[in-house]
Amino acid sequence: MWQLTEVHSCLSRMSREQLVVQQARKAFLTGRSKPLDFRTQQLKSLKRFITERQKEITDALKRDLNKSENATLFYELLGLEGEINLALSKLSEWAAPRPVAKNLLTISDEVFIQPEPLGVVLIIGAWNYPISVTLQPLVGAIAAGNAAVVKPSEVSAHTAKVMELLPLYLDPEMYPVVTGGVPETQELLKQRFDHIFYTGSSTVGKVVMEAAACHLTPVTLELGGKSPCYIDKDCDLKIACRRITWGKYVNCGQTCIAPDYILCEPSIQNKVVEEIRKCIKEFYTEDPKTFRDYGRIINQRHFKRIMALIEDSTVAVGGENDESQCYIAPTVLKDVVPESKVMQEEIFGPVLPIVPVNGVNEAIQFINEREKPLVLYVFSSSKKVIKQMMAETSSGGLLANDCLVHFTVSDLPFGGVGNSGIGHYHGKYTFDQLSHLRSCLLKKLSMERVNQVRYPPHSAEKVRWARLLLLKQVNLGRWRQLAHAAMLAALAAFVIRRFLR
């Protein structure tokens, strides 16, 4: 069935993508996305979408990733709902002018930072948590007063189909959904946006940034990499392994912040393997293949990719697989060496390599020889070890003694550094990332006589007074501030008399 945009695009010889972006820009220029009422109403409609279409969403995710209904509710919708609620309750605070500390010279002026919409934002989603990573940025885009073009991942095809229902809930011109594959995305990237928000791989991230460069468009790139997980000798191994098992095999390891590989001392390797084995059984039963709460690999291409990675390593747990179902059992590899295939790229699957290292110093060295990861995990009962890890490494985020959960704290900026990404979001951070924070100074034309010091012609004396009055910044305690105010008043009076023409 032909959409109206397709008809228009045919008639005007513009690509569908070009037309959609043009319409979004037109909608933005009407100014209707700016008032807080509009933004609130759209956020509430987005909330209605996820409530009313919950069945369609959970069905789609079951078909895309074999995600069980509860898993979808828990891992996708709960967080998204939380973000919408936070934005609704804080919107007026976030959008209000932010006062800036004044100094003696700006005491009679208004100095503040005004958050403003950027314009038309492009949001490119990913397939692993298709609802969450596509719509959470949308929450911030709406809250900040922008228009947004939403491009869900075509790899999670069923979820993309459900997102086509968004225009029934949101302003359809302001927040269009564009589905399609690589050609459609490339066409979109040729258009001019005021910000591009991309979640996905580093390889494509570079392509997105290069396309953005043509229009000087700022970007937020939520990428990935190999997130290391160091298990210290001194820790509660039982609890650590339980949390790691949970973090690793959720969504079949297809999580950008999944612990990619473990670093631990050889002496505890076997115990780690055993504990993880026990937890796998506890969580996913003896036969994860038939268990409803264990997922599948998204498609055959990724299935083959992951299976190829484990070829040259020793399987300690799992290894069973079924290509016809894209099923890979929860797998642990032991005695993995840095040169092995599984250590060359982000696994993004239910395969957990253990790389033996001799203590925290070697672990830190290992980590620092590689690209900065999206998250770094450290399991230790020693505050000293945790502090050392924190001080001597760099990563998007850091989480001690658990996995994944830092993602849920809206007050923490979520994003990468170096190869794992540019920019961050969640909560107020999304709002700020998709806003322009405009510096404002409102002066009056009065008090002109004081300004005389800065005008030419400049005498040596004037230069001295100007230096003293106009720009000397001092960080003063309250008393000294009062004393200076008095002095300033006296000086001003003197200057006025001296330089008055």
């Binding site: 940034m209 339980r242 540019i422 005008y455």
Partner: protein, 473 residues
Amino acid sequence: MESQKQVIERLRTAFRSGVTTPLHFRLTQLQALLTLLEDNEPQILEAMHKDLAKPKFEAVLSEIDLVVNDLCYTISNLHNWMQPSYVGKNLATKLDDCFVRREPLGLVLIIGAWNYPLQLIVAPLIGAIAAGNCAILKPSEVSKATEQLLSELIPKYLSQECYAVMCGGAEETKLLLENRFDHIFYTGSQAVARSILQAAAVHLTPVTLELGGKCPCLIYGRLDIKAGAKRLVWAKFFNVGQSCVAPDYVLCTTEMRDALLPAIKDALEEFYGTQAQQSPDYGRIITDRHYDRLMELLGKSEGKVVIGGDGVKEDRYIAPTVIVDLKESDALMQEEIFGPILPIITIESLDQGISFINQREKPLALYVFSDESRIVTTVLERTSSGGFCSNDGIVHMTLPGLPFGGVGASGMGSYHGRWTFETFSHRRGCMLRGWGLERISMLRYPPYSERRLGWLRWATTAKKKGWGGCSVM
């Protein structure tokens, strides 16, 4: 002589050693930078005079003092800025520590510009040092004397292991950009910015781009003409109009223009005398090439020159010029002027003025002169720009509390004061959990059940009541 790659490798090794991270090191380097400025003020002024005939007053205020103030501000506050900021905890996370750390990025590249050759290199450097990075400085080769001076002084005062100055032109910069940096800070033109962004994309390097554009100055409504004209003239002809935040052109009604012109003439005479070329307080155009560009624009313009218009090539002097009766399509309205030529475009209404502004690229700064606050507010609400200032020009960028930067074609990112420190830092979200409350954690493990989900939804509903941003996991 070290090659580019050798310098980069040396600085990276220094960064990896962790030497730039401690507060003490950063403060020592910042102090050294302060000493550099204090010890060498006459030489710096001399160099800027050679490059731009910059009047001492301007050089002192807009280059040295601006940077010294930023340095002092940073030195006093650095310890605070470096502290982790703890985020709100609620019932569920009482046993956890959630905080944001500011961490160094690594090796950063700072590319300066010629119009404020000291400020535009040193102000970013302050933040780069404060944030614990190593830095390569690439001053503009166009302002040769300052470039030379910086390449002598920086290694003399700052750690040579951690900071280096690289000189050269477009070719050398291109080669430099093939290397990987952890942040690139560029001040300059849009055309070059595009190629910098493209080079950055190869390594996924974040950038700050301080660009330019045409900064409009809307003058409307009731107004103290004399005061307004003075501030306008001061802001426009400061550094002979070669400021990224100079008011590029004026928008006002015909009546306003007719009232302004004599006031502008008076202000010019008051500031620079009847022959600006004789005034020691009036600068010069940076190079012959830039002089030619400006005179060509003036030649192509179809407007009427009402003040100035003349130039002396040997001196690179262009008189303070005001030009009226221009159309939108005029040569002077097609690119950023960056010189002492002020077009005045007449409008019939405030709406028309606002439309005019909005039809163009978002500027780095937007100015409104009016005694009526309603007009100021209307323009503020209906336009977008990097920064906004009413009833004055340029000065908004001297306040360290305000982020200075562009939006859209005028740039991305911002700096000054704490904002420079933040620009050159990575904000790392950290969460330190304990081993306790494992029973609560168990609610999240498979097999997933309705009952467990119910408990978790209840716990996360606490968020709605404004208990903070953490959910129970």
